[in-house]
């Protein structure tokens, strides 16, 4: 780890990550919660929190919840990010099971260099997209009467956003009602109402039948 001004030990990073995860789940991170999360004794936690507080990453009053400072928040998030990215690589690309990937990710996340991490992220992203494109049919390809679920709205920006807001979020069931007499636009039933969209827009929507 060489990107930050303050060097953090592996165990300190683990503590930061644990606090971050606790706060994202329950909004509060007390010493005893942290101890349970990391399966260590309470005094160890107190010691680590003191060390982190000295570096200005957390604030903590006795018998009170631990709070991340702005800097601590960013560092913790960085760790969590690396964790998620590595776990993604292990499951999506190498096909590890969730638990194995979790354990491996915990080990790798402390030693990986930022540049390597970025390359890994890019690789995972392209691998995911490659999958999506080849496998799933598009809404625009379906005939009247077809039913399925929305898998992904690809279009970013205006159209993609609008489609999401109209309720075409991943997992939503839909039915193709009909095509207009000239073949375009297409009409679908979704979330209990009728929506029409051009094929050029339906092209952006990946579905599962």
């Amino acid at each position: 780890m060489s990107e930050g001004p303050k060097q953090l030990t592996r165990s300190m990073e683990d503590y930061l990550e644990a606090i971050y995860n606790l706060k994202s789940r329950t909004d509060v991170a007390r010493v005893k919660d942290i101890a349970r999360e990391m399966a260590v004794k309470m005094p160890s936690v107190t010691g680590a929190i003191h060390a982190l507080a000295e570096k200005g990453l957390v604030t903590h009053n006795p018998y009170d919840a631990v709070e991340l400072t702005d800097e601590g928040f960013d560092r913790a998030r960085g760790v969590a990010q690396r964790h998620a990215a590595i776990k993604g690589f292990l499951t999506a690309v190498l096909g590890l099971t969730g638990d194995d990937a979790e354990a491996e990710a915990c080990a790798i996340e402390h030693s990986i260099r930022p540049d390597t991490l970025n390359r890994l992220l890019r690789f995972v992203e392209s691998a995911r997209q490659g999958h999506g494109h080849s496998e799933r049919p598009r809404l625009s390809q379906l005939d009247a009467g077809a039913r399925g679920r929305i898998a992904l709205v690809c279009g970013r920006g205006h159209i993609g956003k609008r489609l999401l807001e109209m309720g075409l979020t991943p997992g939503t069931p839909f039915e193709v009602v009909r095509h207009a007499p000239l073949g375009d636009p297409v009409e679908i039933k979704v979330r209990g109402y009728l929506l029409s969209l051009r094929k050029s827009e339906a092209e952006h929507i990946e579905v599962e039948l």
Binding site: G160, E187, L197
Partner: protein, 680 residues
């Protein structure tokens, strides 16, 4: 709290999805006490009305119908600007009870604004018919807002709505709107941002709302947030870090996760408050109607038949009524002519004012009839179907499915055509349609064609007239494509359109709608038409004593001056003057030609206009004249309508200039072609 309402006025913002019955609620609440105008600087309509009840005055502002509070369409921007910027005491969120899931999506966003809210569950009957029993109290508790069942089409629930609005406004702290919880990962980011945010003391932004929007990547929300924080750049950088982190975490769009979260919240809400009393109908009435109206083979013919009927009724009934009105105006002019001593004043009244007023009111019947029909088509839900049927062909022309109706109306009269563009949702589509629809040849131009074809193309008259109409359509298509490319390059307006359930329009709604349109035309366009008529009269009368509109008047002299301009088109000054008067109304072209070529000036043996034209025009200059009549500025009334509908002098001027230039260019091309072929 009470001091805030010292004026005894409560500002109520009416928000809701399109087709939620929001306008019906507005009409029921305010009745005829409404004021219709535009939101500053845009074509979107702003409606406001007041109602006095329980000793206070409610100022009700009808926001544009929107699906979300994002900043992608002009309607959404207007709605959020109003909600964030003005002192809104209560939001009344009109929700369609038969489609709770999608309607509540906007509700989840409105809740984040932290403004007291009353939810009007409109068309409440429908939820029972659909087999849903709703626990309103529970719903109200879960979202922290009062819930009132309404049936606006019958005026039910309106008083309760106002009573709740008053209670919420006067007791801002009693019930706080509760916003949806997002995905935990997003919640922690929001909390983190909230903690580091250092806001200006005078900042009144709803923090949670603006943070969610900023994380979604909403530029406008980010700008607001930056302006409101002490360290704008730092805040924005923090927001951007959050967004990047979340994107990596979810492996994709944050928007999708947030939208999903909102719909998840709504799903949970509905599970809590809705009890099914019977299974939902597999085939609804709307489905049955659509099976015919959107049928693969029947759909388009039925649509065209309906359009033909609309067109016929508009210009047949409208035309007849206009005829009676016209007689009245002529009668009035004759009466004034009889009782007043001849002179400038009498001439001003008869040729200027009365002719001008006549020019305005002859449009009224057609406009009233057309808006009755369009209002019916729109409120019943068919207008969306018409757009669905026609979009493919219209889209090929760079236009929207809904552009079809205004353009069709153009064949009758350009004034209602321009006004009918109201049905288009985005202002780009609206302006584009307004710019091209005057190229549809209206009935007022027909007399010109008939006169000239009668003289020059007797055998092939019908074909010649047809070719003029076809040329108009072709130019409209070409212009549409050109404008789309040059003026609105980015705006590929999406066609993501709801097909609302069919509903029977209410008489009250239709009457209010028609009255609004016609009175707006009278006040806004009417004054402009009248003024222009007087100007044209002045030009045609000065100097005093010369016969109206002849060679020696100002217009005649202008015609002489302008002759070099019309000469390259093979036309003489008389034709130029006729075209000039045609700007007042195209019907005047023929009558002006009558004055200029007719007897009056020469004083010799009477010769018919036809003979005179045969001597002054060749078939090709005649055709050129017809082409120019088709293309150049439709008429003052249309220009006034364009000004009123675009709400911009810039677009109005552009439209006028464009049609002038196009007329000249095409006229020149046609004439030169004729000369080259030796026909000139």
């Amino acid at each position: 709290m009470r001091s805030r309402y010292a004026r005894n006025e409560i500002v109520v913002a009416l928000a809701g999805n399109p087709n939620s019955g929001k306008t019906t609620v507005f009409n029921e609440l305010t009745g005829s006490r409404q004021h219709v105008g535009n939101w500053p600087g845009v074509t979107v309509e702003r409606k406001e009305g007041t109602v006095s009840k329980f000793g206070v005055t409610f100022r009700i502002v009808d926001l544009p119908g929107i699906y979300s509070l994002s900043a992608y369409s002009q309607e959404e921007i207007i709605a959020r600007d109003f909600l964030l910027g003005e002192k809104v005491d209560v939001i009344v969120n009109v929700v369609d009870s038969s489609n709770l899931e999608r309607n509540l999506y906007l509700t989840t966003q409105l809740l984040e604004l932290g403004i007291g809210m009353v939810v009007a569950l409109n068309m409440f009957d429908m939820s029972e018919k659909l087999g849903q029993a709703l626990n309103l109290k529970k719903l109200g508790n879960l979202i922290g807002a009062s819930v009132v069942p309404t049936q606006a089409s019958r005026g039910e629930g309106m008083e309760a709505l106002l009573a709740q609005a008053l209670e919420v406004a006067q007791c801002g702290t009693c019930e706080q709107p509760r916003s949806a919880r997002h995905n935990p990962e997003i919640e922690i980011e929001i909390a983190g941002l909230e903690k580091r945010l250092r806001l200006r003391p005078d900042c009144s932004l709803p923090v949670r709302w603006v943070l969610v929007k900023a994380i979604e990547g909403d530029e406008d929300a980010r700008r607001r947030l930056a302006e409101c924080s002490l360290d704008g750049d730092g805040t924005l950088a923090a927001v951007e870090r959050c967004r990047r982190h979340l994107e990596q975490h979810f492996g994709g769009d944050v928007e999708a996760v947030i939208a999903n979260g909102r719909y998840g919240f709504i799903g949970g809400l509905l599970r809590e408050v809705v009890t099914r009393t019977k299974p939902p109908e597999a085939v609804t009435v709307t489905d049955r109607i659509d099976r015919i109206l959107l049928h693969r083979w029947l759909g388009v013919p039925v649509f065209l038949a309906m359009m033909l009927l609309t067109f016929e009724l508009t210009f047949d009934i409208g035309g007849h009524l206009a005829g009676y009105l016209g007689h009245g105006v002529t009668g009035l002019a004759a009466w004034v002519h009889g009782v007043m001593p001849p002179g400038p004043l009498e001439s001003l009244l008869t040729n200027g004012v009365i002719a001008g007023v006549g020019g305005v009111i002859v449009f009224l019947p057609s406009i009233a009839v057309m808006f009755t029909l369009i209002s019916f088509l729109e409120d019943s839900g068919y207008m969306a179907r018409a757009a669905f049927l026609m979009d493919r062909s219209m889209h090929a022309l760079g236009l929207h499915g809904k552009s079809f109706i205004p353009m069709l109306m153009g064949f009758g009269c350009n004034v209602p055509a321009v006004m009918a563009t109201r049905t288009l949702e985005t202002s780009e589509d609206r302006i584009l349609t307004i710019l091209v629809s005057p190229l549809m040849s209206c009935t007022a131009r027909l007399p010109i064609y008939i006169l000239f074809t009668g003289v020059f193309f007797s055998e092939r008259g019908a074909w010649v007239i047809f070719s003029i109409y076809a040329l108009g359509v072709l130019l409209a298509v070409a212009s549409g494509k050109l404008f789309r490319k040059l003026l609105f390059p980015k705006a590929v307006s999406p066609f993501v359109m709801e097909l609302p359930p069919y509903r029977l329009p209410t008489l009250k709604g239709t009457i209010i709608h028609v009255w609004e349109r016609t009175s707006l035309f009278l006040t806004k366009a009417g004054t402009l038409i009248l003024a222009a008529s007087v100007v044209i009269w002045v030009l045609g009368s000065l100097p005093w004593g010369t016969p109206f509109g002849t060679e020696h008047t100002l217009v005649g002299r202008i015609g002489r001056v302008l002759e070099p301009i019309v000469r390259p088109l093979g036309l003489d000054w008389r034709a130029g003057v006729a075209l000039f008067f045609g700007i007042g109304a195209k019907e005047i072209v023929v009558s002006t030609l009558g004055v200029l070529y007719g007897l009056g000036s020469s004083g010799g043996a009477p010769r018919s206009l036809q003979t005179a034209l045969a001597q002054s025009f060749t078939p090709f200059t005649a055709y050129t004249f017809m082409v120019i009549s088709l293309i150049y500025v439709p008429c003052i009334a249309t220009v006034a309508a364009i000004k009123r509908e675009t709400n911009s002098w810039r677009w109005t001027l552009f439209s006028v200039t464009y049609s002038m230039c196009l007329a000249y260019a095409v006229g020149f091309a046609v004439y030169r072609l004729g000369v080259m072929m030796g026909l000139g």
